[in-house]
Symmetry: C2
Subunit: 112 residues, 2 copies
């Protein structure tokens, strides 16, 4: 860690990608999944996650479905049709960004 600030701007894309892969997820599950996939390198905070989910929902990219598990509340999010398209766009932009940065910081081992 220590490079958390590099992730600034990529949270929406991460959420959308996870929902594309896993069909439906709830907030807490997303934080745990990201921690697991990044081996603890990236920890999504609630202060970042929940506003992001609310914004994606407000923008019509996600649908929400409330479920009760035991006595506890869960909000399952899934991609809308529009959300699936936007996910493809954002993933393409991310790939381009990663390629460009790779090239910038290390021209020798550029990906192409």
């Amino acid at each position: 860690m220590g490079n958390q600030k590099l992730y600034k701007g990529s949270l929406q894309t991460i959420i959308l990608k996870l929902l594309e892969t896993n069909d439906k997820m709830y907030g807490y599950e997303i934080t745990q999944k990201v921690k697991e996939l990044t081996k603890g390198e990236l920890k999504i905070t609630e202060g970042a996650l929940y506003p992001a989910l609310h914004k994606l929902e407000a923008d019509g990219l996600l649908d929400v479905e409330v479920a009760k598990v035991g006595n506890r509340l869960r909000k399952y999010y899934k991609l809308t049709e529009s959300g699936s398209k936007e996910t493809a766009n954002k993933l393409a932009e991310m790939q381009e960004f990663l390629k460009t940065m790779q090239h910038l910081v290390n021209p020798k081992f550029s990906l192409e």
Copy 2:
């Protein structure tokens, strides 16, 4: 473009890397070099660049040397010793970030 916001947080690293490669550069030159290297994908604005350079200098990572070319002013920046070390750190963090993001958004084509 359209993915400009993904670059948020990486400007310092980009500047340091350029100065590692090119020994000394002035602000305007940096904006042009980045535009060239990224084929126009990333355009560094003055409002981002100059405050960033001033901060790196204030933090002791850069030395500045004013030059007069014709009747025009140029401020050449170069890495201090401390700046060289920090560049190595930031580049390592960047590589880790890029690897992690690559893994997150496209596990199939992970870099390792």
